[in-house]
Amino acid sequence: MGYVAVKGGTKAIEASIKRLTYERLKESEIIEVKTIMATMRSLVDQVMSESSLYSPFLAALSIKQAEGSMEEAVFIMRAHRSTLPRLYYSQTVESESMFVERRISASFKDIPGGQLLGATTDYTHRLLDFSLLDERVKQNEEWVKAYELELANIKATDKVSYFPKVVEYLRKEGLFDTYEADDTKPVDITKENLPFPAPRSARLQVLTRGQTGAVTALGYASLRGYGQVHPTVGEVRVGALPVYVDQPNGTGQNHEDPYYIGEIKVSEVESFVPVSTKNQKNEAELEFEIGYGVCYGQNETKAIAMSILDQCLEHPESNFPTHDEEFVLLHIDSVESTGFISHLKLPHYVTFQSKLDSVREVKKEGKE
């Protein structure tokens, strides 16, 4: 009879970690962080979004370390985040100031500023491209050169122009309510516990760092039938937003320039959702509300799903689970859900023994 399962943990762990290293190294190939940054844009974007830490370099490093596992990479980034002191909040970022790479509307053909497809897989055919098997650097460089030459022939304007929001156009027509800017300081869910009922700022933070698959699944459920939100995508835009931080010692009233600390690439979505309201004469009227979605990088599916869920959570009176903020917000975080599911692998000897005792006692009494 051996001494069961409780001795030798240290050695077992060491052996397991060694084996893990072996699995990563055994084929003697090395992927460079810069290669990941250059070729796995989408994966890098998703990792940054779910870990709510904007750094393509660190995201690529975590992907390398995690051998491409999303949940593992996000986990590493989140843990790293805990070691960083959080010293400043940025100024409010106005998304009208986005340097737009892509911007489309599903609501209007002819939006002010025009539709701009940019880079998207939407119109590619998803056929395996076997030509990628023998790609050559030289060939690729030639392709890029030719493309850049094409671009050079297009005359650029001297002035940077910003795209107006599609919703502004409808707002002028009175189809959307005009709200006063709400300058309440947003809740920081990484510094305080998520309160319920959750303020919208907290809800948006949880949604934007939610696991892509989970946010998409719940958004889909709501759209398909388990919810009451059927939106039209008013606007999807992808591009870079400049981020500024105030002078730390400034009083806020003087005219010291804020620090420009860089830019973040985001996907932003405004969905238009028809809702019925009552006017002053108590007659039913239709009106539009906006569902808002935003996330790091180019991840339009997640941003659209987020916009659906944002709108769902604005209407808690509906009985569908997608409208229940505790149901949605407490179950979409990658680190939390994967952690708790995987904890089932831990030994439960004591808890199971305790339940076993209970079941045996009940059975014994049944026989007496």
């Binding site: 009879m1 986990f75 070691t83 004591v350 209970s358």
Partner: protein, 288 residues
């Protein structure tokens, strides 16, 4: 690019926030204090609540012991210990009496704890009312209003269905006559060790973002009815096959050849201590 981790992993701001929540928890025994809960380098559900408490409390002179379901050498206990030591360089021990800070998953050591010690318990589900009410917003109100009929009904229904209460581990307790508290999934056997404990007991739930406490010498009673008193797991007629202990929580093991079950102390360091002292006793006469 190499970076060094701060002492005890966290930045000082995070430690302060956790300590503030802890102080509040000590001031209101059994009340679940919400806190921000940092993501840790170990997974949610794997002891991050306990670990955050440990790392916010630890000082250079502390001696740390970590146990998982009774065992010091269980893989996850080893993993947590490794992390604590790598980020703090403090001394580790398996000896319960030698430890100043004990982090444990689902057991309270067999050796009575002293006022010099702090016990940190890892908690998966801090809400004792979760089984009867899914919503956090509502359970928070129920606690505020001292409205615990749901959990009493839960026990009552078990009696109606099975003839007795049929809770496993995590049997709810009343703390200081006010808050009903989930003692974390410690076996019912350990519930009595919470009552008037000399050591400070802190409970941390990382994923659920709650910290709560049983301060020293606090009244802790397991929920039960007068005619259906609280009972603990029974190991009648069984003793540890290694050290012979008969008054401890035992692990049930199955002998591969005979198919029969045999028993062993769940608290491994307690068992080893007993074996060592038995050996000393046996050895003593030969010196004489």
């Amino acid at each position: 690019m190499k970076t060094m981790t701060h002492f005890a992993f966290f930045d000082e701001g995070s430690k302060k926030e956790i300590r503030r929540a802890t102080l509040k928890a000590v001031a209101i025994p059994g009340y679940q204090v919400p806190f921000a809960s940092r993501e840790m380098p170990i997974a949610r559900g794997w002891g991050t609540g306990g670990l955050q408490l440990t790392l916010s409390l630890i000082g250079k002179t502390d001696i740390v012991k970590v146990i998982d379901q009774g065992a010091d050498e269980s893989v996850n206990a080893v993993s947590i210990k490794k992390l604590v030591q790598q980020t703090t360089n403090v001394a580790l021990t398996e000896n319960t009496e030698a430890a100043s800070l004990i982090q444990s998953r689902h057991r309270i050591p067999e050796v009575p704890l002293t006022k010099e010690q702090i016990l940190v318990l890892q908690v998966p589900t801090p809400e004792p009312l979760r089984q009867v009410e899914a919503s956090e917003y509502i359970t928070k109100r129920l606690h505020a209003e001292d409205e615990y009929s749901g959990v009493w009904l839960l026990l009552f229904e078990q009696i109606m269905k099975y003839g007795k209460t049929a809770t496993g581990a995590d049997h709810p307790v009343y703390v200081n006559g006010r808050y009903v508290m989930a003692p974390s999934p410690i076996p019912r056997f350990d519930n009595q060790k919470l009552h008037y404990s000399e050591a400070l007991i802190l409970l941390g739930a990382g994923r659920e973002k709650k910290i709560y406490a049983v301060p020293p010498y606090t009244d802790v009673n397991s929920l039960a009815f007068e005619d259906y008193p609280f009972t603990v797991e029974s190991f009648a007629d069984h003793t540890c096959y290694l050290c012979g202990a008969d008054d401890v929580f035992l692990d049930e093991l199955i002998d591969e050849t005979s198919g029969k079950s045999y028993y062993q102390c769940n608290d491994t360091s307690y068992c080893v201590d007993r074996l060592n002292s038995l050996k000393e006793k046996e050895a003593a006469p030969t010196h004489a």
